[in-house]
Subunit: 375 residues, 4 copies
Amino acid sequence: MSGAVPQHVDAHVVPCRGPGDLSGVQALVEAGTLDPRHIVAVMGKTEGNGCVNDHTRDFAAMAWCHYLAPHRSCTPQAVHAQVALVMSGGTEGVLSPHFTVFTRRAALPHEVVEGEKRLVVGIAHTRDFTPEEMGRQAQIAATAEAVQAAMRDAGIDSAADVHFVQVKCPLLTAAKVDDALGRGLDTVTRDTYESMGYSRAASALGVGVALGEIDAARAIDAAVLHDLSLHSARASVSAGIELEGNVVIVLGEAAGSASPLRIGHALMRDAVDTAGLRTLLRTHFGLDPEADAALIAQRLVNLLAKAEASPDGRVREARHTMLNDSDIHSTRHARAAVGAVLASVVGRTALYVSGGAEHQGPPGGGPVAALVRVA
Amino acid sequence: MSGAVPQHVDAHVVPCRGPGDLSGVQALVEAGTLDPRHIVAVMGKTEGNGCVNDHTRDFAAMAWCHYLAPHRSCTPQAVHAQVALVMSGGTEGVLSPHFTVFTRRAALPHEVVEGEKRLVVGIAHTRDFTPEEMGRQAQIAATAEAVQAAMRDAGIDSAADVHFVQVKCPLLTAAKVDDALGRGLDTVTRDTYESMGYSRAASALGVGVALGEIDAARAIDAAVLHDLSLHSARASVSAGIELEGNVVIVLGEAAGSASPLRIGHALMRDAVDTAGLRTLLRTHFGLDPEADAALIAQRLVNLLAKAEASPDGRVREARHTMLNDSDIHSTRHARAAVGAVLASVVGRTALYVSGGAEHQGPPGGGPVAALVRVA
Amino acid sequence: MSGAVPQHVDAHVVPCRGPGDLSGVQALVEAGTLDPRHIVAVMGKTEGNGCVNDHTRDFAAMAWCHYLAPHRSCTPQAVHAQVALVMSGGTEGVLSPHFTVFTRRAALPHEVVEGEKRLVVGIAHTRDFTPEEMGRQAQIAATAEAVQAAMRDAGIDSAADVHFVQVKCPLLTAAKVDDALGRGLDTVTRDTYESMGYSRAASALGVGVALGEIDAARAIDAAVLHDLSLHSARASVSAGIELEGNVVIVLGEAAGSASPLRIGHALMRDAVDTAGLRTLLRTHFGLDPEADAALIAQRLVNLLAKAEASPDGRVREARHTMLNDSDIHSTRHARAAVGAVLASVVGRTALYVSGGAEHQGPPGGGPVAALVRVA
Amino acid sequence: MSGAVPQHVDAHVVPCRGPGDLSGVQALVEAGTLDPRHIVAVMGKTEGNGCVNDHTRDFAAMAWCHYLAPHRSCTPQAVHAQVALVMSGGTEGVLSPHFTVFTRRAALPHEVVEGEKRLVVGIAHTRDFTPEEMGRQAQIAATAEAVQAAMRDAGIDSAADVHFVQVKCPLLTAAKVDDALGRGLDTVTRDTYESMGYSRAASALGVGVALGEIDAARAIDAAVLHDLSLHSARASVSAGIELEGNVVIVLGEAAGSASPLRIGHALMRDAVDTAGLRTLLRTHFGLDPEADAALIAQRLVNLLAKAEASPDGRVREARHTMLNDSDIHSTRHARAAVGAVLASVVGRTALYVSGGAEHQGPPGGGPVAALVRVA
């Protein structure tokens, strides 16, 4: 924890009945289980399409802002500066809408766990981006800086102790494209849906640079969405219409933390690969997916994963149709597939599976982190 | 085989580049691997939406009819009477479009396997249904009769030897509803998409009655889509716009068959349940999903499964959003989820996963059969 | 005005940048043009799918509640009891998202217009409905009573002076269906999308009964969605997931009103019929669609219309494909078509065109009302 | 007709019950009304999504090939070289699926109309394009050459006599993108849906160059989809997965033709602009849209039009949501809107309205041609 005050970090997974429903959160607060002043980040899965016009994300964010404002004695809008609200749209297939609420407070001396690393969390924001910066070098560099700031905020010294970096990034709308064109500048794309991919890609490259997984010299404009050899095994990026800059949440472990939780990560090599997750559960947490279903049900807090349609059009050598489907975007297909695969391993459907894994894990695959309560 | 001539039944899984692409089939025929005169059934997964206006099904059927007609010296239209063409639309998520081609011919004496049951196949058709009969008692009864006819055609004496019954059934279109209304009669629903569910449901009840899984006295109009306690563990029904009556394919095992294939079946209790399939592979076929990936890749011909969104709105106690999604029909969500879950077990994505499992397995679950080449 | 205090009713059409964006409203309030304490009803067109999972409607309603609460010194939730918030989802094609904000206050003596009827507005609510009541007689009767209450609220004596009745009604969700089943009762349908049609249909029949257009004795359970000869030429009903009972807004004219607006109505016989609207504009308001484009741009406040896919599958004798399309719901097709047709007549795209016109105008057609500022 | 043999050109509009249904065509052939040997072009509106995975286009083309092959004594595949089969997917809103069948034969001497220009038609094909050529200069230049070849085939000397140029062009699929990447080359985009826009745009620029509407020096790679000041008022381009090169159909008028038909064209300035069409009908054909509905019903053969969502995100100054909608592609919205607007003018829904009007008419607008039978 590099001299910082020891943290006590916890996480609650709260189901909701709709994007604006915080009755479950309210119940936890009223029961004294959750202190709204300690909330540092919320990672929500909301039931929209996860694409450009997914208003369930800003709906949920508005509900959180109005809910937290009186608890934090600020305006609803000012909540954004205090709490990292990351809403990822899309609960296709079996996925169940929910919020993962992270709290952080100074640990009491007797709470600190000696000799074992435990969960810590850190937050940072980039500045707002102009439309023409998105999906390009400026976004890569600013994201890398923000990741390092968030590591410091978490008290993590070594990139090896970072297990998941969640970034929320903006996208281009028709209005933003227009704005750039009006100033004589061009955006990386004029297609709003495609802009989500560019913004996620640049952000993921930034994470990889910060964690030492990607050589900064190669993370240039031309690499974005093109040099698929570059990827971070711990980046997770979601694009949303409701913000103008990137928000970065670093999840990792540090000695001296007082958290009752641990975190680890694995890779899915493709959308149906469960070997990494099975091994992680067995070796890192001592949980066997087939024999220990009841224990997993008790101790697993959440899986955090990224999904994408394999960009070469194939899964296990056979053609898939996700990239040619003009009725359902490929990110929706991918979340449905990966969400169900992960649910079949851990027996739980309220999982954070987010779409669009450009430079996040190998092509067609993606990172998966497990948050587990210590026995 | 009840005195019938011993059958030699085989199955080929052939990928396609589009619904009308039979170049893979043609290559097998030209190589002498597949004799088009022996084809008795084709079960296709085509890349449409699997719902009312999925024209990839009739497109594929038209391609097959034009391809087989000269080989069978009949008109394209007459192929339907000779070969059961069952096209199931929808390859959401990782699923890969393909055709499973079943051949049947008289076995040569030396081919007959003694002492072990092997794959047999039988086919039957019901009469055409009027719009007002669909989804009702008339369709249940006619389907039950056709299943028994197909069992006789397959040479199966006991319902216990039936492992999968594929039915293709018609649906209501606006024109058919109109036709009934014009004659003063009402159809079971006026919603064309909903009619697919009614037609599948009545057909599945018919299969259950024929196999002794469902008491015929309870399989009445009012039970269709309502009495969810009634189900068949071996029925698989797809609805399509391209036919007017039901086509029934019975897959099972019989002593005295000469097939190089075996078949077994299991149940998925819900969309993410893999325990039954894992047990089937281990006990019935001696294949361990984790240890024997290479053997499974060699010997597995196909999985045949049904998928549906749990009608109570929950999977493993958590809310899903498939039934409230007005952008993507629930059958599409369900195929994406179940297809990926099965693919994660067997490492293969060209799987026959068909949507809409009303009375086919327990609510939210469904049957899954495995076709496996004998070692 | 039957002895009531004379009303001053006005209407503002305010564009928005998203479902939660009230910056345009706020600007009008800050400019003194709009007094938030006088708002009695808001009819919004929001940019969702207009079907079951359209959360843009409750998002907009939440934004309005939070915005109005401090102005009306009540909680956000209590705003619903003071202001009729009707959010209709779906701005397909050229339609532009906006809010039509109706204000009502006591008229000052010098404002009252003598000798000419002018716009008045009245509001009423039904009680909440149980899931099993929806789409049935109970909803019809309660709606008819509410329409009459709203007429009294508006100061309208004669049904002939009613030109538009907007109803917002609830729909069935999977949870509500479950609730009824759990109590041993069945709902009119188990399909959530279909329930929107039933709820709209029963509500429209209620409007027709109240206005004397439909014989109450014929407005029975069996007539709902079936006896298409029954319809109201002035009913407009939208279904939404965010409420449990019906909200009724009556728009009409009365002598002694002080409004600067008039209202009239016409019928579209089918989705491409503009003759009625053209005649209404010419005869009722003295505006010729081709010659007076500039005047129409100045004086037209809004068109309020309903759209539906012709239930017989034909428009002008030719087959349409809206009812068989499983990728896009027919209400979305119909709004796109009717919205563009109306826009081509009046040269304006911020129009209130709402989908699902069951018993609202003749089959395949619908009512259209024009709100026009007096010259 | 520049010395060529006088043509007798006719056009039949034939409804269909599905993409593969040619029963209406067959009936005309059997009645002697249509001679299949004279068919030179078919422009179909099929009921798919009109985007990448719209297989109704190749389904219809396959049906036509199998139907025409025996009549033309060639293989089904060889029909493509003899008849320009242009299938445009998408019948959103009120549009009705149909085929417009153009026939051409040598005119008998007494049939030639003296002193009045009448309809002529000409056809040409480009070579197949490599994936990397699509959407670029190579496609522009080849299209321009093909338009001039088709004008010669039609017997048209002056570009002023060309009223509609229909081009069918290929699109990029995941496989084609892969192929280029495998050869170390990049395609104009890797997004398959976006590739349709590039291919249409380059083809339209080619038409404009050929007709003298666009300066060839400006029709360069960088102009494609970017320099929106460049457009042809007579180009109509559809992209389809079923071909590798462009097919060009020129429709115009020439003296000495024996056709019973005339053709004229107008511009829609935006998606709801009917002024140009109304003027065309009145001045060119003497038909008043409001007074002469019955005459129009008799004499109008078809409208041929292009539709697109205004790329600046606005129609008549108000925001539209077509470009930000990730559930329904903007081309589908635009066809629904423009199809209904045109239908409201001419009282007919079997209209050829094709989506994606890049460089085809002004931004957000498009060309519309009217085929009218001479009184």
